[in-house]
Symmetry: C2
Subunit: 190 residues, 2 copies
DNA sequence: AATTAAACCGAACGACCGTTCAATTCCAAG
DNA sequence: CTTGGAATTGAACGGTCGTTCGGTTTAATT
C-alpha cells in the first residue's frame, strides 16, 4: 500500500520541481514516513525515475495497440491524433517527466527508454506511409511528418487546463482536423 | 571577458543537466576559476538563469520584428515558420532552457518571462486571424492553431542534428508546407 | 501468548550545496 | 616604480543531499 503512494508522490514531485531538485526527504514527507523507509520500496532514487518512465511508455504502447482501429489511413490518423491527446491529457505528470528527465537517466536506461519512444514514433510513420502510398495524403517526408505530428499533439499538454474555454472533445476535434490538414487531407469546415 | 564565458558555461551546463543539477563549482571549473570568483559576474545562481531567459526572449522578439515581411497572410506564415525554425536551431541550449526551466524561476521572474512568451505567441495568432478573415486560411480556432504551430516548429529542436539526412533549408521547406496545410492552405507537391 | 518478518524510525555518514570574505595576485594608470 | 582597484583564491559557513543501519514498532500467523 505504501509502495504505490511512494511512486505517486515521486511522480508528482518530479513533475513539479524536476528530478534533481526533489529530495528523498521531500518524497518521504509527502507519503508521511521517514526518509529511510523509502528504501523498502525502491533500491535508490534513480530507480524511481526509471520505473515510472518505463511503465509510462509501456502503457502508451499497449494502449495504442488496443485503440488502433486499423484500416484506412485517414481514419486511422484521425484516431491516432485523438488517442494521443486523450492519453497524454490523462497523465500530464508522467508525460512531463518522460520528456524532461531523459537527461537524468543513466546511459543504459536512457537507451532502453529511447527505444520505446522510437517504437511509438513508428506508429504515425506507418500511417503516413500508408496514406502516401494509397494517394490520400501528401506529405513531403514521412519521418518529419511524424515528428511534427507528435510535437503538435503533445504540445496540448503545455496549455490545456480542465474548465478552460474548450473541453477535451473540442480540442480533439480541432487538432484532428489540423493533423489531417498537415498531411494534405482537406476536411469540411466546422 | 570572463563575464561572457561564465554565462556561456552556465547556459551549456544548464541545458545539458538542468538548472538544479548544476553547481556553481561546476560552472566555475568550466570557466577555469574558483567558485567564489563567479560572484563578481552574477549576484547569485538564480540571476544567471533569469538573465539568460530574458535575453533569449528579447532576442527572439526583436529578431522577428526585423524578419517580419508583413503583407499577405500566407506568405507571412511561411516566413514565420522558416524564421522560427532557423532562430531556434541556432540556439538549441537557450531554447531548451527557456522551455524546461520555467519552473526553476522565482514567481515574479516567471511572470515576466511568461509575458514575453505570450507576446511571441501573439505573432502567429495575428497571422492566422488575418488569413481567416481574408478567407485564405481555414482554421477552427486561432489560439489553438497558434499553439499547435509553435509546438510543431519548436519540436524540430528535439531531433535535428547538423549533418543528418536533411539540411536546414530542406527542413524549413517541409515544415513550411506542413504549417500551411495545417491551416487549410494547399500547396503544390514537391 | 509466542514468533516472525515486514515496516518504520531516527541518527549518523561523507559528500556536496550556494554563498561569504579576508587575503592575495594581477595589471593598467600615474 | 608606485599605487589602487579589480580579479581571483581558498578556506570556511551552515545546510542539505542520498544512503545506511541498528534498533523499535506493527500486525499477522502459529
Amino acid at each position: 500500500m505504501t509502495g504505490p503512494r511512494v511512486r505517486a508522490a515521486a511522480e508528482r514531485l518530479f513533475a513539479r520541481h524536476g528530478y534533481a531538485a526533489v529530495s528523498m526527504r521531500q518524497i518521504a514527507a509527502e507519503v508521511g514516513i521517514g526518509a529511510g523507509a523509502l528504501y523498502h520500496y525502491t533500491p535508490d532514487k534513480q530507480a524511481l525515475l526509471r520505473d515510472m518512465m518505463r511503465s509510462h511508455l509501456d502503457d502508451l504502447l499497449s494502449a495504442w495497440a488496443q485503440a488502433d482501429p486499423g484500416g484506412e489511413a485517414v481514419a486511422r490518423l484521425d484516431a491516432f491524433a485523438r488517442f494521443h491527446i486523450r492519453f497524454h491529457l490523462d497523465r500530464p505528470d508522467a508525460v512531463f517527466i518522460a520528456y524532461m528527465e531523459l537527461r537524468s537517466l543513466e546511459p543504459e536506461t536512457f537507451a532502453e527508454i529511447e527505444a520505446l519512444r522510437k517504437q511509438y514514433e513508428a506508429v504515425p510513420e506507418a500511417i503516413l506511409l500508408d496514406g502516401l502510398q494509397s494517394g490520400v495524403m501528401q506529405v513531403t517526408d514521412v519521418k518529419l511528418g511524424s515528428m511534427a505530428l507528435i510535437a503538435m499533439l503533445t504540445g496540448v499538454n503545455t496549455w490545456y487546463r480542465d474548465g478552460g474555454r474548450l473541453d477535451r472533445a473540442a480540442v480533439e476535434d480541432v487538432y484532428a482536423r489540423m493533423a489531417l490538414g498537415m498531411v494534405g487531407v482537406q476536411t469540411v469546415a466546422v
